[in-house]
């Protein structure tokens, strides 16, 4: 469906210039803080104190270099990656399996199961955090990345299943009948037909899960303890307070922490926005 195109009717059009103005304003407000942080990393703290809003003059690369030479940064970034990738994989796999049968087959307890997962949408993570702490400590998992991965997978399952069920329900029964006739079992049907068809849905779910996990703060804060071995958001916060006097250094660290998310988003933005479109429409 194309957008409501009224440019042919000038007397109704509120004005292309107005639109560009609004767009520009929104983009400016959106992007300026980010740019400031990135540019700030190219200055020294003394520069920033002298002239908070100015441009780097001269451009200083030490602060950014220091971030990349900081072993903690790499550990934290690595941990964030492991956690996010594993969470995403776990969510996609487990969610897909469960959503598939919930969506397409009658069985006892089906409605209850679906309601159970849906209710998870309403459970704030904050409610579970303190008991998770004691639980994971008794498993001896505190400080282990799995301590963060498992709860994240669990909490994301609700969203995932809710998104995937309508997707999967939409696959026509005839396809399954045809597969059955050809002698394929349910699993083969799942593996060879349903999975490939669910691509867009899986990408949406995967991307949402990845971004949410990458940016998670409360869970790693309480469950991973030592900042040196925690994830990036926790690391950035501690860096900012431990080196609070070094404003430029903090800005550099913060902007480097932004990069993976921004990069990922640039690469996947069409998928994300497209996925959202599909989810909302469908």
């Amino acid at each position: 469906m194309t957008a409501l195109n009224l440019s042919s009717r000038r007397r109704i059009d509120p004005g292309i210039p107005l639109t560009y103005l609004v767009a520009l304003a929104v983009v400016a407000v959106t992007v300026t803080p980010v740019i400031y942080v990135i540019l700030g990393g190219f200055r020294t703290t003394a520069q920033i104190n002298r002239d908070p809003g100015g441009f780097p003059d001269p451009w200083v690369f030490d602060k950014y270099a220091a971030v990349f030479q900081n072993p903690n940064f790499w550990t934290q970034a690595g941990n964030s990656s492991i956690v996010a990738l594993t969470t995403t994989a776990g969510v996609v796999v487990l969610g897909m399996l469960a959503a598939f049968v919930i969506a397409r087959y009658e069985f006892r307890g089906r409605t209850l199961l679906f309601s159970l997962f849906t209710a998870g949408l309403l459970f704030p993570l904050t409610v579970a955090v303190l008991p998770l702490f004691t639980m994971l400590r008794s498993f001896g998992l505190l400080g282990n990345l799995l301590a963060v991965i498992a709860p994240q997978v669990a909490f994301d399952l609700a969203v995932t299943i809710i998104i995937l069920v309508p997707f999967l329900r939409a696959i026509p029964a005839e396809l399954e009948d045809a597969a059955m006739i050809d002698g394929a079992g349910r699993f083969a049907f799942f593996w060879r037909i349903v999975l490939p068809l669910s691509g867009p849905g899986l990408v949406t779910v995967g991307v949402l899960s990845f971004v949410k996990s990458w940016n998670a703060y409360l869970l790693p804060l309480l469950l991973l303890g030592n900042p040196a071995t925690a994830t990036l958001p926790v690391g950035v916060q501690y860096f900012s307070t431990a080196y609070s006097q070094d404003t430029a250094g903090v800005l550099a660290f913060t902007s480097v922490a932004m990069i993976p998310a921004l990069l990922f988003f640039t690469l996947a933005q069409r998928r994300i926005v497209g996925g959202l479109t599909g989810a909302v429409k469908g």
Binding site: A46, V92, L145, L146, W191, R192, G225, Q245
Partner: protein, 435 residues
């Protein structure tokens, strides 16, 4: 279609390997590794000179003890005390030597079984240290050693005082009010306070309580949490009066104590305020801030810095020579390797303590190390400590995190123009009831 299926398979494989990898790498590193012992050491000295000082101490210890690896890290004070240390202790691993402020906090940690009882290993040190080690002991056993102890007072800018025409440092509260007026008349911010961090503001109430309450009441309150004595209300009333004279900088509710030039310590260091009520670590903190501000590697506390005791209050019931003080120490966690105690004893040795005094970061406690104190102001602090008849530990440390937290909240509310002196006492009592 085939591509997607293959992608799925690859993803599944990836997930499994990632999970395995995570499980393997995510495990907490064992403290012993082929005979190598690793000590994890956390302290709050994020700025110089403490940052470099502790790193040197760690390196020296490693050299003297081959096979021992010391990983020392500095974290911001509030985060360390309220989040990092409690969280890590609760996990039961991963932290060996850590900053210990003593008293109520220590008691809570001991009750929970986090702290190593080092009484047998440090008998000599305890004897030498005398009374100052008391906050690091609980029910007769020793759980840590201090490296720093001093009393609180007003750090002030001699130049700005001269500019305002103040010739003598205030010795009574009335004289302090006069000084504040003189400074305001000269367009100088009288006092900087880092109320954003809570405790710097709370220290005003602590000092008023110290001057209003008799030592017996204060000591009893520490053990029984009995705050019924009207002196606690008086403290709040005096604070309210003090606040009414508007002695502080603009926006004091968001100012931090030690973080950057905009903090209260920073304001004093850069000449933007005339006074700050703060503990004996202040010169060290200010030096660190100046170093970052100016880029000068050898920046120290400014020349214009002076110190005077919290003024006496005429007609108050408390002991006029009592002082509010506290210190820092280190404790070993219950699961730390024995080398942790060796490191602690090394830190407490006369040699290291003397260098600590020389660094200007604080007041060392080990007898014989006082010679190292080069800073004139710190010598004054030490003199004040030695002549104080009664030293009360910071009240929030003394009462522990639950009551201390509630107390600080009540006091900060008063600073913000909300709440009353009675509210502070009510909050403390309510919090004590939940223990």
């Amino acid at each position: 279609m085939k591509n997607k299926a293959r992608t799925m398979r690859v993803a599944a494989f990836g997930a499994i390997s990632a999970l395995t990898f995570a499980a393997l790498t995510g495990c907490a590193a064992p403290a012993t590794d082929d005979g190598e012992v690793t000590l994890t050491w956390w302290h709050n000295g994020t700025g110089e000179p403490l940052l470099g000082f502790w790193e040197d101490v760690a390196a020296e210890f490693e050299e003297a003890n081959p096979g021992v690896n010391v990983e020392v890290t500095a974290y911001q004070n509030e985060e360390l005390q309220r989040t990092l240390i409690p969280n890590q202790l609760r996990t039961g691993s991963g932290l060996d030597l850590y900053q210990q402020w003593g008293a109520g906090e220590l008691a809570a940690q001991v009750e929970a079984g986090y702290v190593m009882d080092i009484s047998d290993q440090v008998t000599q040190e305890v004897d030498a240290l005398g009374g100052v080690v008391a906050p690091w002991q609980y029910e007769g056993a020793t759980y840590g050693l201090p490296f720093n102890f001093g009393i609180e007072g007003f750090w002030y800018n001699k130049d700005l005082f001269a500019q305002a025409g103040i010739t003598e440092t205030p010795t009574t509260l009335d004289e302090l009010y006069d000084a504040i007026d003189a400074l305001k008349a000269a367009n100088i911010t009288p006092i900087a306070v880092g109320a954003g961090d809570g405790w710097p503001a709370a220290h005003y109430w602590y000092n008023f309580a110290l001057k209003s309450c008799s030592p017996e009441v204060l000591q009893a309150a520490q053990t029984t949490y009995d705050f019924d004595d009207p002196c606690f209300l008086e403290a709040g009333d005096m604070l309210e009066e003090f606040l009414a004279s508007s002695p502080f900088q603009e926006g004091y509710l968001a100012t931090s104590a030690q973080q950057g030039a905009g903090s209260s310590a920073g304001m004093l260091a850069t000449g933007n305020a005339a006074m700050e009520l703060m503990g004996h670590w202040n010169p060290g903190t200010m030096g660190g801030i100046l170093k970052e501000e100016t880029g000068a590697a050898e920046a120290t506390a400014p020349e214009f810095l002076g110190w005077f005791n919290f003024p006496a209050i005429d007609g108050a019931a408390g002991d006029p020579t009592a002082a509010l003080g506290g210190g820092d120490g280190f404790s070993c966690s219950a699961w730390a390797p024995p080398e942790c105690v060796d490191l602690l004893k090394y830190i407490s040795s006369v040699e290291v303590q003397t260098r600590f005094g020389e660094s200007g970061a604080g007041v060392p406690v080990t007898p014989g190390s006082e010679a190292g104190i080069s800073d004139v102001n710190l010598q004054q602090v030490l003199a004040g400590l030695q002549s104080a008849s009664y030293v009360q530990l910071w009240l929030d440390t003394a009462y522990g995190p639950v009551v201390g937290g509630a107390m600080n909240e009540g006091i900060v509310s008063l600073f913000g123009g909300q709440g009353t002196p009675a509210d502070i006492v009510t909050k403390m009592k309510d919090a004590a009831a939940t223990l």
